[in-house]
């Protein structure tokens, strides 16, 4: 079966969506967002580390 083909299923006509293309875009968006999220969490961790040393050593 190919993307976009109209086919019958027990008399009901339906159109197969281009699932592969949608899947690729979804994966890229999820992958890119998870990398951004990971980097932001890493920055938050570095801020905490720095804050601990700054407030302990400056006081």
């Amino acid at each position: 079966m190919q993307d976009g083909l109209i086919f019958n299923n027990n008399g009901n006509q339906s159109e197969k969506k281009p699932a592969i293309k949608n899947g690729v875009i979804k994966n890229v968006v999820v992958g890119f967002s998870s990398e951004v999220l990971f980097a932001l969490c890493l920055f938050a961790w570095l801020v905490i580390l720095t804050a601990i040393f700054f407030f302990v050593l400056s006081s």
Partner: protein, 506 residues
Amino acid sequence: MLRKLTKFDFKITMYYTGKIILGLAFTMVIPLIIALIYKEFDSAMDFIIGILSSVIFGLACMKFMKTDKPPNLFQSMIIAAFSWIFACAFCSIPYYLSGHFESYLDVYFDLMSAFTTTGLALIKNVDHVSNALNMWRHMLTYIGGQGIVVLALAFLIRNTGGAYKIMVGEAKDESLEPSITKTAQNIWIISLVSLFVGTTMAAIAAYYDGLSWDRSILHGSWMFMSAWSTGGFAPCTQNLSFYHSYAFEIIMCLYMVMGSFNFALHYVVWKGNPKELLRNIEIKTFVVTLSITTIFVAWGLSAAGIFTNLNSVLRRGILLVISAHTGTGQMAVYANQLVHSWQPLAYMGICIAMMLGGSAASTAGGFKALRIGIFFKGLIHETKRLILPESAVFKMTFHHIKDQIIESGMVKMAGLIILCYCFIYLFGTVVGVACGYPLGQATFESISAGANVGLTMGVVSPSMPAILKITYIITMWLGRLEFLSIFVLVGSVGLAIGQAFKGGRK
């Protein structure tokens, strides 16, 4: 018996080098368009000359050195190392004609710095460089980051059995797909998608902070290319400080970190497996070493009381740690501040971060997190072997894309490459000290060049001795191609000269 250079080796090397130069000639069209849009006709002429020279050389090599045979591993190593020398020579034409450099050596230094994504610059009056030349400088770091051989593989070299070997020669030895052309194309798809998103984010931040819309787009794209390819060039002398924008700095840090990730990791995560980020040995190693170096810098700066508030420590200190560890070299502090104000512990933290670098098969330089991870796991393995009874059977694994068993060959190779990096750091330092620079500055600058970082304490300038410029050019080149392909090239040329000398005496 040692492999000797033959006429066919030379022919196949020139054939593929011609293809790579031809590929680079096409990329010069983009700065040419920028020059025409901004009516920079002098720059436009420089690029036309550059394009014509590269096309003539590329076509001549492809016509007169034509071969259908794929290169073997030996030839591939030579092609990778050789093509970088020629690429620098041809891409330097618009640089040289621009009049922003004191000598051709300075031009070649800047070119090698761009291609190796180092970011050390000898360009004069950078604030008044044309938009076209600025675009070309940043494009070169972007192309260099992905690998110029990868560029040629993705678009020019097809159905080549030996293509993978050339890519290995360029230290991009991760195969994302069974087809090497597809692998190269995927590396470029990842980079181009990031270019679009990153430029948009940076341009919005720059526009919000007061730049006109067209300058926002230009500066956004330049600074993105500089961060993603862990290059470190900037269109202004003040580098990141020019923008005075928290948002802009966070976006740059984000792309420095993402740019230092392995392309294979990007590919797996973008294929729908984000959990790989939490399991990968490179990411785990990177988080640990980044945390340790952050502690050094935070401790050093806080104890010295240089900055009175946390905000300054983060924007000056921690940004610099991220920039150093990812091998980027974008700075929000001045070289003079580093020399005179920074406490030794903070200085040491930055040096260690530069030495370690980002991930393998990424745009970053340095030891690489994969090697550090494997090396330490290997050490633990050997210690266990000595402690446990001789009859005990155990194996050590690591996770990088898939679970892999650590073999002694892997640990040995990782150790060897780390040793080679230490040697070039030491070599650069010795030459720097011999040229009269203080030990601290010479060490910092040598690590920065060898690990392809680009942070500077002021040693790198047009007035530094020619011998030091040549030393840094060699260490940048060695560091980027990770030694092996250059050793093969130098060994083969040495052998050929030896043969010719012997022949002459007979």
